[in-house]
């Protein structure tokens, strides 16, 4: 025979093609259903590896954001507490100025001293402010920081420590989140409780009231200065939260470009493979039917 003999067994070839087309359709439909073109690492090994890193970075950005939200409540509470401290000290100063006026009677001075005692109590309670059950001015100790103590000249002892905590809110970016009470309230240069105690005894004894008032003023200025720390921290936190939110968007965009299904392409592949599948099925059903035997009568 001179003519080239062709392979009479076409079915296995056609079935293999059919299988491949079916697989193409399945893959496209899975990609559309899950929205991800990486179902298992072998679908895109490099992409799968990158997605591990992308997910890890997204998780870190989420974590930093959550930490930032958690500590912003603490910082706000501390800030408003110090605002109340400043207001109380302001009132103490005006009471001191009033008490320094020589025209006051002993009774009037006693009233002033009483009101100052009230302010002393208020400051003590402000110093013991907590946020979600944790004292915010005890340093890194978990004890009540300020306790009334008649034996101490300032009337108060500090039981906290001088420690402070930092919380990470970004890669290589930690924010100090507290100032110890020993720094804010009982600094040797401007002791809030000492100054109020001194003012009360000055008013009571009607001696050196002016000196005592300036001592309180000094404490007022000092605490106002300390409050700036919390204001700054809140500002920094706010800008960091903005940054982290936009970083999350960037990471999500990057993640999508790595692994998200190109819907249009997947849909096209799917419908094309459907068409191919139908054509293959039709050709199989026809081809296998005929041979010369059908024409021999």
């Amino acid at each position: 025979m001179s003519s080239v003999r062709v392979n009479p067994y076409i079915l296995p070839d056609l079935l293999l093609d059919l299988n491949n087309t079916q697989q193409q359709a399945d893959t496209a439909s899975l990609q559309m259903a899950t929205g991800s073109r990486i179902d298992k690492p072998s679908d895109d090994p490099a992409g799968a590896g990158q997605m591990v890193l992308n997910k890890s970075e997204t998780s870190r950005a989420d974590t930093f954001l959550r930490s930032a939200t958690g500590i912003s409540g603490l910082l706000q509470t501390a800030d408003s507490t110090l605002s109340s401290v400043v207001t109380a000290l302001q009132r103490a100063i005006s009471l001191g100025v009033e008490g320094a006026n020589g025209t006051l009677s002993d009774t009037d001075r006693a009233d002033v001293a009483n009101e100052l005692s009230g302010i002393q109590q208020q400051l003590l309670s402000l110093g013991n402010t907590d946020y979600q059950g944790e004292f915010i001015f005890s340093g890194t100790a978990t004890v009540q920081p300020f306790v009334a103590d008649a034996s101490d000249p300032s009337g108060v002892t500090y039981n906290g420590n001088n420690g402070s905590n930092n919380v990470q809110v970004g890669e290589n970016y930690s924010l100090q989140i507290n100032l110890p009470g020993s720094q804010v309230f009982t600094s040797p240069s401007a002791d809030v409780f000492q100054s109020i105690a001194d003012l009360i005894s000055a008013i009571k004894s009607n001696t050196n009231v002016g000196t005592a008032v300036s001592e309180v003023s000094q404490a007022y200025n000092y605490v106002t200065g300390q409050r700036v720390f919390y204001g700054n921290a809140l500002n920094q936190l706010q800008s960091q939260q903005n940054y982290l939110s936009s970083e999350k968007v960037d990471l999500a965009t990057a993640g999508n470009s790595i692994s998200a299904t190109d819907m249009a392409a997947a849909a096209t592949t799917f419908s094309q493979s459907q068409i191919a599948l139908n054509a293959e099925l039709a050709s199989i059903s026809r081809i296998s039917q005929t041979s010369l035997f059908d024409y021999l009568k």
Partner: protein
């Protein structure tokens, strides 16, 4: 001169030949779907003529041989490619299962590592909070059980592959036994001058199946076929087959042993056995090894970071994870927490309960190159890449091997396959020839009748 009777013999001989040829066609048609069947072609030959004086008379036709059409070189290529495909198929199937453990999801190892670091970061905002401390322990315990599960699944996959190895060896033995039997039958037929084609087809088919399981080299000899592995382990010589066996080593892994008692486990180069052994002894242990490295590195880093701080009671921190086994083997399968009391997390750097200073050292593990010179996440990302890359490469190889095999089969089909069109044409051809020869018989018969009647006319007159 030729006689009427010799003309009659000639015609009936032609009828017998055509009938024989038609039988060959019938057999081809009957075996159109028989795997490995090679079509047969009848060889017709003109009989030796008779010379009478100046005249040479033909004496008809006879059916000389019935020949199977096959291409031995092609057959060998098909066997080689079948072996290649068997190997790739076995390893792709195994690694496809393994890689699902590393698919991205809500519980994959990467996510669990992130969750642990995330829980530590949360604790840093309120270090004495017991429920946040418990959160860290829960995340650590989830990470440990994810490692445990991954290692357990990989180990049970190895056990399954081990079973597959034993089953494949049994299949090899069954096939070599059958091939040796066929060798005997073919030799016996060839000794009496027959080609034993049907048996040869069956043997080729069995050798093909054998190639799908183990690497086979074929040497033809007078006593049939000798089959060995490419490393020279005898499988079949003539009518003898040599059974392989399996033997468990100290760790329970089945080794393949040849008939001489030699361990040939690492010498099998193609076929499903090669793929199974490769996945069982290299690919999966490789993954387990990387998991162990990751687990040991993480455990050691967390333990040492925890030891640098103070727990909620003001005591120096101890281990968070149980110390990994020496050498690290089995670390992933046995990773577990060393503590159950959340107070024992050493968050504090100064000994006071509200300090979070040491959590920074725990957090920083994330960016430290504590796992074979890489950060934990980078190491895991590389693992995912590698496992995916291996599967993707061998899948591509498998697909191209499938195409090659398909082409070889097409080629084999074009040489040895039964074409029904061709057979139908042959059938009509032989049928027509048969009809024509029968007409000759009828004609000669009539002539003989004439001759016989001549005699009766002479007698009656």
């Amino acid at each position: 001169m030729a006689s009427l009777l010799s003309a009659m013999y000639l015609a009936t001989g032609a009828m017998a030949t055509d009938q024989g040829a038609l039988e060959v066609t019938g057999n081809n048609v009957a075996n159109v779907n028989t795997p490995g069947y090679s079509r047969e072609v009848p060889t017709l030959q003109e009989n030796t003529p008779v010379v009478v004086g100046n005249l040479t008379y033909g004496t008809g036709v006879s059916l000389e041989t019935v020949q199977s059409i096959r291409e031995p070189i092609l057959q060998i290529r098909i066997q080689q490619e079948t072996g290649q495909q068997g190997q790739l198929n076995a390893s792709v199937t195994a690694m496809n299962q393994a890689q699902t453990l590393f698919a991205s999801g809500s519980n994959d190892i990467g996510t669990q590592i992130s969750n642990l670091f995330s829980s530590i970061a949360q604790l840093s905002t309120d270090p004495s909070n017991l429920s946040l401390r418990q959160g860290v322990l829960t995340a650590a315990s989830n990470l440990a059980s994810t490692f445990n599960n991954t290692a357990t699944v990989l180990n049970s996959q190895r056990a399954n592959l081990d079973l597959n190895v034993r089953q494949s060896v049994q299949q090899v033995n069954t096939l070599t036994q059958q091939i040796a039997g066929l060798n005997g039958q073919i030799t016996a037929l060839q000794n009496v001058g027959r080609d034993g084609s049907q048996f040869v087809d069956r043997r080729d088919n069995l050798i093909n199946q054998l190639s799908g399981l183990i690497d086979v080299s074929e040497i033809k000899s007078d006593t049939g076929i000798t089959l060995t592995t490419s490393n020279g382990t005898a499988l079949v010589t003539g009518t003898r087959s040599y059974a392989l066996s399996t033997q468990a080593d100290s760790s329970g892994v089945q080794h393949v042993i040849d008939a001489q008692g030699k361990d040939i486990t690492t010498q099998i180069n193609s076929g499903a056995l090669a793929g199974l052994i490769q996945a069982r002894d290299q690919a999966i242990p490789g993954l387990l090894n990387q998991l162990d490295t990751l687990t040991s590195g993480l455990s050691a880093a967390f333990n040492s970071a925890n030891a640098s701080g103070f727990d909620l009671n003001g005591d120096a921190g101890g281990n968070i994870f149980a110390a990994p086994p020496t050498g690290g083997t089995g670390a992933a399968a046995h990773m577990r927490l060393a503590i159950t009391d959340p107070a024992l997390i050493a968050a504090s750097s100064d000994g006071s309960a509200g300090s979070n200073g040491n959590l920074a050292s725990l957090s920083s593990i994330q960016n430290q190159t504590v796992i074979a010179g890489e950060t934990p996440t980078d190491y895991y990302a590389n693992m995912v890449f590698n496992v995916g890359n291996d599967v993707s490469n061998s899948t591509a190889e498998l697909q191209s091997s499938q195409l090659v095999l398909q082409q070889l089969q097409d080629q084999r089909g074009s040489i040895s396959g039964v074409s029904l069109d061709e057979e139908a044409a042959n059938m009509t051809q032989y049928q027509r020839a048969y009809d024509a020869a029968a007409q000759v018989v009828v004609a000669v018969n009539q002539m003989l009748e004439t001759v016989i009647n001549m005699g009766s006319v002479a007698v009656s007159s």
